[in-house]
């Protein structure tokens, strides 16, 4: 579920008006303490209404983040109807309940659930993007998301087939392996022959195999997703485009992987070295274990700042809307630092600093995002007729508020 502040760079813009090329910076004007009041009051209201108010709470939260995001003195607006969100939540909870029931009571359908889940993703992506865009506005001109379910499935069908075929092949190979080897893969330390119900079977590796096959495709799928989302986004009569290829996504993926591994190793060495120096303090094995786990965890959070920063930069930094282009200059060190400090603040405040952390992130992202291009005053709203043509006449019932 993407938090609202990720929205910032997804902004807009425009048309002809030759000459003057101007750059405008995004600004976020929210304040931690102000958002804290809104946040806690809405949690309280959600609780005493048994969760019903949570839809209104969500709208107010989004309105807070959109409304405080400004581009050249003008605020963004979030227009969603809380009742629509409530409906989406009821459906989502129903699905979650069904998933829970299936998982617990009919474990044999894990494979089926996986397939259904994967097959539903492209549709959910479209439904939630449509909802989000239709309910986002700037200068009283709404955004639109014009992809149909068909567009989404056409985008993902080929890689999906390849992944499923490769998984099936890997799965078939597992069946060819001697059950004993399989058992040792499963971590069992027994060497003796075991009755069937104690044996690790290929079925137990189903998900692991799928994830392993999926892994090298992730940057490509991420690229397809970004391409689908951006190249079907419009603000008024301005069409957004993504001008980068899958290669840059792979670059970020692998550099991020190397950085994560390197940082984890360095942290490990520091812990090892520090353990020798401060053996008095860290002498207790339990204390040492906990300190190590926390440090490695923080190191990985810091490293994940690279992905967040560079991925955002390649997606939004290569996005144009009409004649304008978005600038996105997140840096690894700042995002990593914000991540680590936010995590620590949230942990040590037992969650009370969640609002502060959100505002802090939103403020940073806005401060390094910009829009460069011509005057956008002449952007024209698109009328209802044009809009429904884009959406292939989908009705509201298909709009879902589910983040991906």
């Amino acid at each position: 579920m993407e938090s609202s502040q990720e929205l910032s760079p997804e902004a807009p813009v425009t048309i002809e008006q030759t000459q003057n090329i101007i750059t405008q910076n995004f600004e976020f004007h929210g304040k931690g303490i102000e958002y804290f009041r809104l946040w806690i009051v809405n949690i309280f209201l959600s609780i005493i209404t048994l969760g019903i108010f949570s839809a209104w709470a969500k709208v107010r939260k989004e309105q807070y983040f959109y409304g405080n995001l400004r581009l050249g003195e003008h605020s963004f607006s979030y227009l969603a109807d809380p009742l629509q969100i409530l409906k989406g939540r009821i459906i989502a909870f129903g699905l979650l309940g069904a998933y829970w029931a299936c998982w617990n009571f009919i474990p044999i359908t894990a494979m089926g659930l996986l397939i259904v889940g994967v097959l539903a993703l492209p549709a959910i992506l479209v439904a939630s993007s449509r909802f989000k865009m239709r309910n986002s506005a700037y200068r009283n001109i709404t955004f639109q998301f014009t992809a149909s379910f068909g567009d989404s499935y056409r985008t993902f069908i080929k890689p999906l087939i390849v992944i499923l075929l490769l998984s099936a092949a890997a799965y078939w190979l597992l069946y060819q392996i001697d059950p004993e080897t399989l058992n040792s893969l499963g971590g069992g330390d027994q060497t003796e022959d075991l009755p069937d119900e104690f044996q690790v079977t290929p079925e137990d590796f189903l998900l692991s195999v799928f994830y392993l096959v999926l892994l090298p495709f992730l940057p490509y799928l991420d690229y397809l997703r970004a391409k689908l989302l951006i190249s079907h986004t419009r603000w008024g009569n301005q069409q957004a485009t993504l001008n980068t290829g899958a290669g840059s996504f792979y670059g970020v993926f692998f550099v991020g992987l190397i950085i994560t591994i390197a940082i984890t190793i360095i942290t490990g060495l520091v812990i090892f070295g520090g353990g020798a120096v401060f053996s008095d303090v860290l002498g207790n094995p339990a204390t040492r274990a906990i300190v190590s786990v926390v440090l490695v965890y923080l190191a990985m959070i810091y490293a994940s700042g690279y992905w967040r920063a560079e991925r955002t930069n390649i997606i939004y930094g290569n996005t144009r809307i009409g004649d304008n282009r978005i600038g996105s200059a997140l840096t690894f060190s700042r995002v990593g630092e914000i991540y680590v400090i936010n995590t620590l603040a949230i942990l040590f405040s037992a969650g009370l600093l969640i609002p502060w952390a959100h505002v802090r992130m939103a403020r940073y992202i806005a401060s390094v995002s910009s829009l460069t291009g011509t005057n956008i005053d002449h952007v024209v709203a698109e009328n209802e007729h044009q809009q429904s043509a884009f959406g292939e006449g989908m009705v509201d019932a298909f709009d879902l508020d589910i983040g991906l």
Partner: protein, 377 residues
């Protein structure tokens, strides 16, 4: 300009909804109570043809005209004055959100709610739901739990078929007469890293490890343990644990507002049985049940005390490992070696959660309870 409160004037931007052009404008109410813009970008509009958004923090107020035009202003004071003069409320949500006193009260109530939920609400409703769940659900729940446990934890039992049959026959004698709710069964498994232990699954299956059978000097001691497990089943403890865990996940995700994270947490339920153990209250309940049944069928309560004492020694005495290894071939005791069950000196001991007996009430007190109960006759 302030000749009457209706003359209040707010400055902001006007957007006509056709183009993105922003017009700096002033909005005021004229003598007929209509809204007028200065400069005259649009005809005067009646109050009934506008909607005014409620205030959210200091974000601009949106005054939307029914023809699609939009006026945005941060002059919330003027807008609220108009609303009052039209007998409309400016919105109570922002009122609550704008005062620190309300926010702190809300915080206090939310914390109180979480506290009450965890200590009282969730356990109580779990009990209620556990009682109400139909047998078909509890049966499949237990079956899938057993399936996972067999693969992840247990080894096949090495007891002879005769010994198994003997103990199972004795087990039937121990079942309470009103035991229609479950299909009770007693199964034996090699405990592996878990060592001597017994479990009650939601479908009425009681699992006893070979190591536990080995540690018992008399079958009566095993009967005492079985009665304790039947006590867990009688009170539907494992079911209640599962429901409690699920409710906690639901509670946290609702509060933090992230539905997608819930799916992954919920998938781990079979582990709960192993890792969470039972609460002290539940152990006491099961002990009470075992105690009453033992007295009822004339089983010496001393047996429970004896085997508990031996289990306690086995779980944290190194010397005892030798004895167990002799008793039962290839038992891996590494996880159970340095358990410190008696006093909670070291709360950070992470392997502790693995030990089923660790969450039991102080074993010393439990043993004493069964010893004291001996006297009545």
């Amino acid at each position: 300009m302030q000749s009457s409160k209706n003359q209040l004037c707010a400055t902001g931007y006007y957007y006509d909804g056709h183009t993105a052009r922003a017009h700096t404008a002033e909005l005021h109410v004229n003598n007929r109570g209509e809204l007028e813009l200065n400069p005259g970008l649009r005809p005067a509009t009646a109050f009934t043809d506008i909607t005014i958004s409620s205030q959210v923090g200091n974000t601009p107020r949106r005054i939307k005209f029914s023809d699609g035009g939009l006026f945005e202003t941060t002059d919330h004071e003027s807008v609220d004055q108009w609303l009052k003069s039209w007998n409309r409320s400016p919105g109570w949500t922002h009122h609550l959100e704008s005062k620190m006193a309300y926010a702190l009260s809300a915080l206090f109530l939310v914390v109180a709610f979480i506290g009450v939920s965890i200590t009282w609400g969730i356990p109580w409703s779990s009990k209620y739901i556990a009682e109400a769940l139909p047998a078909s659900i509890t049966a499949s729940l237990g079956d899938s739990a057993l399936e996972s446990l067999d693969k992840l934890v247990f080894y096949p039992s090495k007891l002879s078929p005769e010994r198994t049959a003997e103990l199972q026959a004795q087990f039937l004698e121990l079942l309470p007469p009103e035991s229609k709710r479950y299909e009770y069964q007693l199964l034996f498994r090699g405990g592996g890293k878990i060592g001597p232990n017994a479990f009650a699954l939601p479908n009425g299956t009681i699992i006893m490890t070979d190591e536990l059978v080995a540690i018992a000097k008399l079958d009566e001691e095993l009967h005492a343990i079985v009665l304790h497990e039947i006590g867990h089943l009688h009170h539907r403890h494992s079911l209640r644990q599962i429901i409690t865990h699920t409710s906690l996940v639901a509670l946290t995700t609702t509060l933090i507002g992230d539905i997608t994270a819930a799916g992954t947490l919920i998938a781990g339920i079979p582990n709960v049985l192993m890792e969470a153990g039972f609460s002290r209250e539940m152990e006491t309940e099961a002990d009470t049940y075992a105690l009453q049944q033992m007295q009822k069928i004339g089983l010496d309560t001393e047996h429970f005390a004896n085997i508990m004492e031996r289990l306690q020694l086995a779980t944290f005495n190194d010397e005892d490992n030798e004895q167990r290894k002799n008793n039962k071939g290839n038992i891996d005791n590494s996880a159970a070696d340095d358990q410190d069950d008696q006093d909670d000196k070291n709360p950070l001991n992470m392997s502790k959660a693995l030990d089923f007996f660790s969450s039991h009430p102080l074993t010393k007190d439990r043993i004493a309870r069964f010893r004291d109960a001996k006297s009545p006759q």
